[in-house]
Symmetry: C2
Subunit: 336 residues, 2 copies
């Protein structure tokens, strides 16, 4: 009885964000997991596709520690890859779709990726990147949907993760002050960050999360896994368009994350004059939102939570957690 | 760049539930942390007391791995000990205050505890236990408040936890099928369970948790730490009394946990006829609540979540997580 370390195999489970989809498929099998344009997947379907995708990756030669670069819009493919790549014990390298081709080429080469998966929006870029760069391109969707064709015939080929600090993803910084630098994410960190995001934004089984935030940005602040952990619905948005955001916001979306510039676009959108029947929880970061913007958002029934983070911290690391007493504070005199 | 294990000292932090009070004291210093009868403590005060309590424990000879038995009512002392004992790298042995003296004596001896801390309700029992049992008794409160006197003069004496699977507490099973068995809890498990409880019950900074559940029971299902993690308020209830519960429930309590028998007491309480203005979240376990009881609770505006767990699982391990579609289901014919 005097052992100070009770670890036994039966009492230890590795923290990995791949577990969230396993649980969601078991508990919320028939609930709506993903909306991506006209396509809709339940959690059972999402899970089945992610598992079959491990077989596709295996067939493409992807094994433990291999880097897989992804050049994807916010899409069901990107979400599926967020579970499938780690389930091959491989490493996701999400590419910022706004970078120039030389920058993308640098990151692919620096990361050591031999495989590049792209959604249809980036088919041309991906094909050009493969010229003079030893990377094989697989297109996920559109007319040349190689990935989709392979998935239909694949069977699962998962590998287990024994070390929760094994490498999960490499997220490259924006390179403002030099070459982009690769930040190494591990399974444990992403698992804990996903739980933090689900908890602090109050995601639950009745939530719908609109993907205004790019999924390539710190793995979408780990909301790629957090929304699944909560059994909520992912609403994919392949491009930021205020009219489209506003349409979703009026039809059941409960949460989204966006930079203040996106919120400003939304505030100025002509359809936004009459506010929302039910409140929406929004997390914002990057530049601080102005008092005027915060006031306008409150009028629209949009609750803002201000966060701060870095690529190095799995996304948001600091949160302005609301304290009830602050409700009684006066707004700045300019807004009175 | 091909390392598959990015662990470095700078990217690793041990998961231990003692971190929650550190954060709460930093972020919610002036917020109400604990109400225990006439006594009230802010998070700054709660933190300060828990830290000074580590000095008291050090003065009593408590060091790494030492067992400290506690025979305490739901009280500020019990909450303070939940942070102070692990901060001495020592091991809490919470005693079920409803057990017989021979059973308590067996647990104290089996655990190897040399120190027993008791609140005033159990001063007599504790004194009798120390006869013929090599344990030193320290009384926490009441007229012989040795602990309180020592705390006034103590300075902090924390020890660090380097291994998150180090022993945190030993919770003894009820002994229904034989001698009580000691279940060994580690820091990591309690940290994760506390987050799970905070997340699944929606505890946040505006919550007040009423302590109807005994804190000695699986460390209060880890709510002893979860409420602190959320920056919510602990309302201590030293004995289960329906009139007292009902008084709290009408004055701002947002959450509590209770066995169905306690809920039945509450449903039948004569003051309970007119329901509540704001909903209360209640987690219940043990025996399944009957449809009649669930119906009555719904009438009172009390939302029930049904859980199942064991001493071996840090408290609740299975939760009936509500799915919106179920709102449309019919009640049993007997209740229509």
């Amino acid at each position: 009885m005097r052992s100070s370390n009770p670890q036994t195999p039966s009492s230890f489970e590795v923290l990995t964000p791949t577990r969230f989809l396993d649980r969601a498929a078991a508990v919320f099998a028939d609930r709506l997991a993903i909306v991506d344009g006209e396509r809709r997947f339940t959690y059972a379907e999402f899970h089945d596709r992610a598992l079959r995708l491990t077989g596709v990756l295996a067939g493409l030669g992807v094994g433990p520690g291999d880097r897989v670069a992804v050049l994807c819009a916010n899409s069901h493919t990107m979400l599926e890859l967020h579970t499938a790549i780690p389930l091959r014990a491989a490493v996701m390298v999400p590419l910022n779709t706004r970078l120039s081709e030389p920058e993308l080429k640098y990151i692919i080469e620096h990361s050591g990726a031999r495989l590049l998966i792209a959604t249809t929006e980036f088919a041309g870029t991906a094909t050009r990147l493969a010229i003079g760069c030893p990377v094989r391109v697989v297109l996920a969707d559109g007319q040349d949907a190689d990935l989709e064709a392979r998935m239909q015939e694949a069977t699962p080929a998962m590998l287990s993760i024994d070390n929760e600090q094994a490498l999960l993803a490499i997220n490259y910084t924006s390179g403002t002050t030099g070459r982009p630098k690769g930040v190494m994410y591990h399974h444990r960190g992403a698992y804990l960050q996903a739980l933090a995001m689900a908890y602090h934004t109050g995601l639950d089984t009745s939530s719908s999360y609109l993907w205004t935030l790019p999924m390539f940005h710190c793995n979408g602040w780990c909301f790629t896994w957090a929304v699944t952990a909560a059994g909520a619905t992912h609403i994919c948005l392949r491009a930021v368009d205020p009219a489209e955001i506003w349409r979703h916001v009026r039809h059941g979306v409960t949460h989204f994350s966006a930079a203040p510039t996106v919120l400003s676009m939304l505030a100025e959108y002509r359809g936004a004059h009459d506010g929302l029947g039910q409140p929406i929880e929004v997390t914002t970061g990057g530049a601080p939102p102005s008092p005027t913007l915060l006031h306008r958002m409150a009028q629209l029934n949009i609750h803002i939570t201000h966060l701060y983070g870095m690529t190095e911290t799995f996304g948001p690391a600091i949160i302005n957690q609301w304290q009830r007493e602050w409700d009684a504070l006066d707004p700045p005199s300019s807004l009175r």
